[in-house]
C-alpha cells in the first residue's frame, strides 16, 4: 500500500499546488460511463444529469466524462486518472464499477466517489440507486389492462436483484388487474446490445406477446414492436418518446439530475457524507414518462392515481399478501417489503413462470 500513499501524496501535492489554480474556483466532477452517451437509455440519462450539473453551477464546476469504459481494470484506470487530474467528485455509473471504485477510493481519500446501484460503501464512497420497481408497478398495471393475448414479454438483462424486482413488481400489478396474464421472460445478458434486444423482442412477439417490457437500454425493442404493429412497449431508462404515442405508451425515466446537482453542491459546501441513497418517484429520481392516448382513458387515470399514491408514500408496490414462487408466504396482509430484502431479491413471486437462471 506504499503505492497508495505515493498516489495520495501526489494528489495532495496537486491539490495544494496545481489545485490552487483550479480547485478553489472550480469543482471538478468526473463521470465514468459504461456505454456511449448516445445510447438513448441508461448512459444518456446519466449524461443529462451531468449537463444539469453544469447548468446549475456554470463556471463554478468543470465536468469531465469518459464513455464506453469496460468494467474491470480499465474502469479502475480511468477513475484513477480522473482523480489524478484533480477531480473532486466522481460518479461511477455501472454496477460493475463497484470494486474498482472501492479500490480507487482507498487510494484517494480526499476525492468523493458516488457509485450507482452497488452495495459497497466507504468513507468517501456513497452509493445511489433508484426504485425502478415503482415505475414497473405502473407498467405492470397498464400492461395487464392492455394485453389481449394475455401474454406479456419481458426482455431481461441479467438475473440480478434489480431486474428481478422489476419483474416481480410488473407481474404483481399486471396480475392484479388481469389474473390470466402470463409473463414470458428472455434473458439477454447485456445492458445494451441493439441486435440482441431486437432479436429478443421479435422472439417474444412471435410467441404471442402483445406487450413487451424491457430492462435493457436501447431502443431496438421499440423499433421491433413498431415494425410488428399492435405491440405495446414502454421506454426504459430514458423516455424514448420518439416511439410514442404508439408502441411506446409510457416510460420509466431515470432522472439523476436532482441527485447529481445536490451531491455536487454538497461537495462544494463541504457537507458531503457517505450515504446510501435509494430514491424513487417521491424525490423524482424515477419519473414516469407521459402516458399517451393510446392507453384507454380509464387505465391512464388508474395509473396516474397509482403514481400519485406512491409519490405521497401512501402506496408501496410490494404490499402483502404476497407469496414466493414456491408458494411460501413472503409478506402478510398489509405488510410491505423492507429495503434489505428488496435489495437482495433473488426469488420470483408466486405466479411468475420459469426459474431464475444461474
Amino acid at each position: 500500500m506504499k503505492f497508495g500513499k505515493l498516489l495520495t501524496s501526489a494528489v495532495l501535492a496537486l491539490g495544494l499546488a496545481g489545485g490552487a489554480a483550479f480547485a478553489q474556483d472550480k469543482t471538478k466532477v468526473g463521470f465514468v460511463y459504461v456505454g456511449p452517451v448516445g445510447d438513448g437509455g441508461w448512459t444518456y440519462e446519466h449524461d443529462q444529469g451531468r449537463k444539469a450539473v453544469e447548468e446549475a453551477f456554470g463556471d463554478a464546476v468543470e465536468t469531465v466524462y469518459v464513455e464506453n469504459v469496460a468494467e474491470g481494470p480499465d474502469s479502475e484506470r480511468v477513475m484513477t486518472q480522473m482523480a489524478l487530474d484533480g477531480a473532486d467528485l466522481i460518479f461511477t455509473t455501472s454496477f460493475g464499477y463497484m470494486d474498482p471504485t472501492i479500490n480507487v477510493a482507498a487510494k484517494f481519500p480526499n476525492v468523493k466517489f458516488e457509485h450507482a446501484t452497488g452495495y459497497k460503501r466507504a468513507d468517501n464512497v456513497s452509493t445511489y440507486s433508484a426504485r425502478f420497481y415503482e415505475g414497473r408497478a405502473v407498467q405492470g398495471h397498464i400492461a395487464g389492462k392492455m394485453t389481449k393475448s394475455n401474454i406479456v414479454g419481458y426482455i431481461a438483462s441479467f438475473p440480478i436483484p434489480e431486474v428481478i424486482r422489476g419483474i416481480n413488481s410488473a407481474y404483481l400489478h399486471a396480475s392484479k388487474v388481469n389474473p390470466d396474464v402470463e409473463f414470458k421472460i428472455i434473458w439477454v445478458y447485456t445492458w445494451f446490445d441493439p441486435a440482441k434486444e431486437a432479436d429478443a423482442a421479435k422472439a417474444l412477439i412471435e410467441q404471442g406477446a402483445d406487450v413487451v417490457l424491457q430492462h435493457t437500454d436501447s431502443t431496438a425493442p421499440q423499433a421491433a414492436a413498431a415494425e410488428a404493429g399492435g405491440v405495446v412497449t414502454f421506454g426504459q431508462a430514458s423516455d424514448m418518446a420518439e416511439y410514442g404515442p404508439f408502441p411506446r405508451v409510457s416510460s420509466i425515466i431515470d432522472n439523476w439530475a436532482p441527485y447529481y446537482v445536490a451531491r455536487t453542491k454538497a461537495v462544494m459546501d463541504g457537507t458531503w457524507e457517505s450515504v446510501d441513497t435509494w430514491d424513487g418517484i417521491p424525490t423524482g429520481m424515477v419519473e414516469i414518462g407521459e402516458i399517451t392516448d393510446a392507453v384507454p382513458a380509464d387505465v391512464k387515470e388508474e395509473a396516474l392515481a397509482m403514481i400519485e399514491a406512491m409519490r405521497t408514500g401512501a402506496y408501496h408496490p410490494f404490499t402483502g399478501p404476497i407469496n414466493k414462487q414456491d408458494g411460501s408466504a413472503w409478506l402478510g396482509e398489509g405488510e410491505t417489503a423492507d429495503d434489505g430484502t428488496l435489495a437482495g431479491m433473488s426469488f420470483y413471486i408466486e405466479g411468475v413462470d420459469g426459474e431464475i437462471p444461474n
Binding site: 500500500m1 506504499k2 503505492f3 505515493l6 498516489l7 501526489a10 468526473g30 456511449p36 469531465v64 466524462y65 469518459v66 464513455e67 464506453n68 469504459v69 469496460a70 468494467e71 474491470g72 481494470p73 480499465d74 479502475e76 484506470r77 480511468v78 484513477t80 486518472q81 480522473m82 489524478l84 487530474d85 454496477f95 460493475g96 470494486d99 479500490n103 452495495y119 441479467f158 438475473p159 440480478i160 436483484p161 428481478i164 445478458y189 435489495a343 437482495g344 431479491m345 433473488s346 437462471p357 444461474n358
Partner: protein
Amino acid sequence: MIRLEKRPQVSAFMSYATPVLAVLATFAAGGVLFYLLGKDPVQSIITIFYDPIFGEFSFYYRPQLLIKGAPLILIAIGLAMGFKAGIWNIGAEGQYIVGAICGAAAGLAFYPMEAVWIFPLMIAAGAFGGWLWAMIPAFLKVRFGTNEILVSLMLVYVAEQLLASMSLGLLKNPEGFGFPGSRNLQQYASAHNAEIVAGTGMHWGVVAALIAVIFAYVLLTRHRLGFAIRVTGEAPRAAHFAGVNAARLTFFCLGMSGLLAGLAGMFEVSGPAGQISIDFNVGYGFTAIIVAFLGRLHPIGIVLAGLLMALTYIGGDIAQSQLQLPAAAIQVFQGMLLFFLLAFDFFTNYRFRFGFRRAV
C-alpha cells in the same frame, strides 16, 4: 505512368521503416480529424502518445501500460505462432475466458484456505482451460477438416455463455447479495496475482508474457518446431516435403495459443480484474489478433505492438477525459493507425515503378 511491382525480395529497410511511417501518417491524419472536431490537434496527440509515458502522472501510467499490454502480448504471441503456420485461431477471446474461469475456479475451490501452492495450481488450471478450449477446433480440423476460424470464433460465444452462467451460478459470490460475480480474488491472498513490486505494474502475467516472448523468439528462430511453423506458413507442400506433420503442428499451434490465452485470462482474473463477472472479457482476445499482425508476427514486434496498443487505449482515455474527445474519435484514430500500418506494409513487398514497362 506509375505502376506497382512486386519486389524480388522483401525490403529490409521498408520493414523497419513502415511502422515509423505509419505512426507519422497517423499523426497527420489524426491531427486533421481532431482539428475538425474542434480540438487542438497537437495537444490531442501529445495527450495520447506523450502524456502516458512522460507526462505528469507517468508514474501511474507506465505500470498501466504493462497491465494493459501484458495480456495482449501474451495472447498475441500464441496467435502469432499459429498465424505464421497458416492456422487461424480467431477464438482467443473464448480461450481467455475459459482460462480465467478454470483458474478462478481452481482458486475459489480452496477458499478460504491459504497455501502457497494455490496460485501455481491456478496457473496450471488456467493454462489447461485455455488449451482445452483450443483443442476443440484443433481436433475438429484434423479429424473432420472443419474450418478452425469458424469453430474457434463460435466457441467464443459459447465461452461467453459459460462465463455468464458461472458468474450467476457456480462461482457466484455467496456474500454478494445475489449480485452476479465471483468473490474478489484480490481479497484472497493465496489466489491474488499481486504486483511483484508494488507500483511497477509487474504482476505475474507480465512475467509470463516476457517468458512467452523469449520462448517464442527462440522457438521461431532456433528451434526445429518454429522452423516447421514458418515453412508451413510459407509453403505447405515444402513443409510436407521437409517432413512436417501438419496435424501435429495444428495441435501444437492451436494448443499453444489457447494455453497462452488461458494464462492471460487467469492472470487477469486473479489480478487486475479480480473477479469472474459477466462482463469480465473486454476483447483482449480479439485485439490481440491486431497486435499479432501489427507486430508482424514477430515476438519483439508483438511486444512493441502490444505496448503501442496499450498506449493508445490509455492515452485515448486520458484524451477523452481531459479534452472531451468522443470515444468514437479515439477508435477512429486507432483504426487509422492500423490502416496506415497495413497500407505501408504493402510496400515492403511492392514498390512503385515510374514509366512504361518495356513491351516485350
